[in-house]
């Protein structure tokens, strides 16, 4: 059985805002994730939905991209200062950044 690893990253979208990711990884999958930062997202209460949808998703670009795209299509959420792809990059940055110090 795999252990839980805490991962984190601060990711600045080019010309935009900051995404701060703190996640728990189990066996190369997201156990839980918290996304914070100075970006805009409307409706505001959609962020917890994205965090929930990310649970149990493999920490792989293709799977993350599919999930994030599905979130933006399904909720008609509008982000400003960050693009949908920036959420994917921020999460992958946490993975490549290694365990939280």
């Amino acid at each position: 059985m795999s252990g839980v690893t805490l991962l984190s990253a601060d990711y600045k979208a080019p010309g935009g805002k900051l995404l701060r990711v703190r996640l728990r990884e189990t066996g190369d999958r997201i156990d839980s994730v918290k996304i914070s930062g100075d970006f805009f997202l409307i409706p505001e209460d959609s962020l917890p939905k994205l965090e929930k949808m990310l649970e149990d998703v493999p920490l792989k670009e293709k799977e993350l991209k599919l999930l994030v795209d599905r979130f933006f299509r399904g909720t008609s959420a509008q982000a400003l200062g960050v693009a949908p792809d920036d959420f994917v990059k921020a999460i992958l940055a946490a993975k490549s950044g290694g365990p939280e110090c």
């Binding site: 990711y11 100075d38 409307i42 400003l80 200062g81």
Partner: protein, 255 residues
């Protein structure tokens, strides 16, 4: 000419109540219970967090304790700002579909609804310009930041203008991530922000800036601002929001 309501309702020493009123107004405007509204207000020493920010990551709580700074979270996104008596806040609530902001696009809202403040500051002699995404700058330095939402049937935009704020405290109470500073090629918060006082080279009252912004809004949008008060319904909503949301550490700190 269209008339908007102008309210100067504030609770200088109660940032939680200030934020409750900030939400009660757009709710009432969207429900058709209040007219389109512009509000001006002040806070005493307060950090106002964006709704998606982590208090633990953004706030230097030791410095807050030393300086008597309160932390409150707003309902809009964007970054943390520091408020004190030298900081003027304004908020514009327009019923959704208003011709000034017909598109449900937040970037267009920021641009259009910053024009009044830009015009007002220019009228005072400050060389202000809107800087996407959500800032007003003077020669590369931020003098005002805005946030907003499209919610409850309302297009909402609010901003804070650094009139004569204590930038030294601002630099202490907020943990500004290195990534954010590096991106702008400047070494500290103090060096990338400015105040109306510093730009004009003389003391200026927030009241004078408020009057300038009123003129800027009236001229930019061809509207008349008429002094008004909050309705009983808005005050009742604000009190409920205070009790259930803005006075609670679960809302303000636990993200």
């Amino acid at each position: 000419m269209e008339t908007w309501r102008l309210v100067d309702v504030e609770y200088r020493d109660d940032p939680f109540m200030n934020m409750s009123v900030e939400e009660a107004i757009p709710r009432a405007v969207g429900e058709g219970k209040a007219p389109n509204t512009v509000r001006f207000w002040h806070n005493s020493n307060t950090i106002v967090l964006g709704c998606f920010q982590s208090a633990a990551l953004e706030v230097n709580f030791d410095a807050c304790k030393e300086t008597g700074t309160t932390v409150v979270r707003r309902f809009t996104g964007g970054g943390a700002v520091y408020h004190d008596a030298g900081n003027l806040n304004y908020a514009i609530s327009l019923k959704r579909g208003h011709l000034l902001v017909p598109d449900a696009d937040l970037q267009s809202v920021f641009k259009k609804l910053s024009e009044g403040a830009v015009e007002g500051l220019r009228g005072l002699g400050v060389k202000a310009e809107f800087q996407p995404i959500n800032d007003i700058q003077v020669e590369g330095k931020k003098v005002s930041g805005a946030a907003g939402s499209i919610r409850w049937g309302t297009v909402f935009h609010h901003g804070c203008i650094l009139v004569a704020s204590d930038l030294a405290i601002l630099g202490r109470v907020l943990n500004v991530p290195h990534l954010k500073l590096a991106d702008r090629h400047v070494a500290s918060v103090q060096k990338r922000v400015t105040t109306v006082r510093d730009e004009l080279g003389k003391d200026v009252a927030t009241r004078d800036v408020r009057d300038g912004i009123v003129r800027g809004i009236e001229n930019s949008y061809n509207v008349r601002l008429e002094d008004g008060a909050l309705t009983r319904s808005e005050l009742s909503t604000a009190k409920e929001l205070y009790d259930t949301k803005y006075s609670k550490s679960t809302w303000n700190l636990e993200k």
